[in-house]
Amino acid sequence: MGLKLNFNLDPRTKIIILVLISFMVFNEVPLYISGILVLVPFICLFFSNRIKLALSYILIYIFAKYIQIYLLPTATGIIAIFLIMFSYTATRMLPILMMGYYTIQTTKVSEFIASMEKSNIPKEITIPLSVIFRYIPSVYEEIKSITDAMKMRGFGLNAKSLKNPLKLIEFYMIPILVNAIKTADELSAASLTRGLSNPISRTHFVEVKLNKIDYVLLVISFMGLGIYAYYFLGGVLFA
């Protein structure tokens, strides 16, 4: 894409949008309302060099919505349960999953901390949250490599090992926990050298501020929330 957009959202924008989407994801609303929400993660992913993911996300969503609208009323029995499961997961959880993925993938920890401190959130909350940001991707990597290591010893994720779920849980849990403790020690040593425990307020290398594009996205998602609220309140008022 020759499109060069300065698409670097403020972490606050990402989190506000995440919260807004999570408000609306739980209720069944007409397509023209949920469409707004579905498009916001799409835009974010599309303009941050994740075009393939964005397109497949929107395709899966449309497919699931299609199933929900046209196929479900006529489906019965076991097929119906699978179709319901798929379309329910895709239409409700996918937007928020994608937004969460985008937030975690594109937010640098330093940006996150800077923006959180700018909005005066105490460090008792920002530090654990930034550890979460930093650590969730590596937990998934660890799970992957543990699976590989178990396969090498003939204990992969297959029907045979599923017969013995307690062993499976133990084999996964112990390495992850050992690693977690190690990471905790390393991170706290690293943070100590960087003076994170210094009580004086810190300066930041990265500058975070709300750009035009932040405002545009925020306005779009707040409009979505407004229409959504109007739809529900109107439904109550006119019922």
């Binding site: 329910y88 008792e124 909350i125 550890v131």
Partner: protein, 193 residues
Amino acid sequence: MSEMINVKDLITVGIFAVILTVLIFLFGMLGYIPILMIGLPIIAALIAGIPYMLFLTRVDKFGMVTLLGLILGIVMFLSGHTWIPIVVYTICGLIADIVLKMGNYTSIKNSIVSYGFFSLGVFGNMLPFYILRDYFVESIRASMGTDYVNVILPFLTNEMLIVLIIVTFIVGLIGAYIGKIVLKKHFKKAGIA
């Protein structure tokens, strides 16, 4: 409070919050099978005992468990549950913290009981089902079909909620005990517990 919570403690809280979140989400996937959705708190209580007991070996100040609950609640909030988990997780964490404080952070009995209370936090994810029951049943009926609702409906009564809470508490005690055994088996030997 003998000492303030320092950065090292905060990082430990963050790391364990990640592990508990991953566990809850992985087992939350089982919720698509109707019966297991009701059993979710019980399974979660059983599994999460091991990380929690390991977490307790790092805890010696008031507030860390409360903070863990608060952070878990925020993560649940950000991931599409309502705001209710924040309140429930924090309250459960606070009770667990008080129980630990009474045992001076060393008593094994108190840490097992405190896990019993902490594991009730998962009900934060479930309570919206009960509070908005009628509304919710309709929306599930629309999205998951009548069969699913018929299976799930007998479990959505208030009596059932109380039974579930009690069962989860007891299973939490068992989970914590298992955690203690695993701790002895694996982590004491490795010198990190």
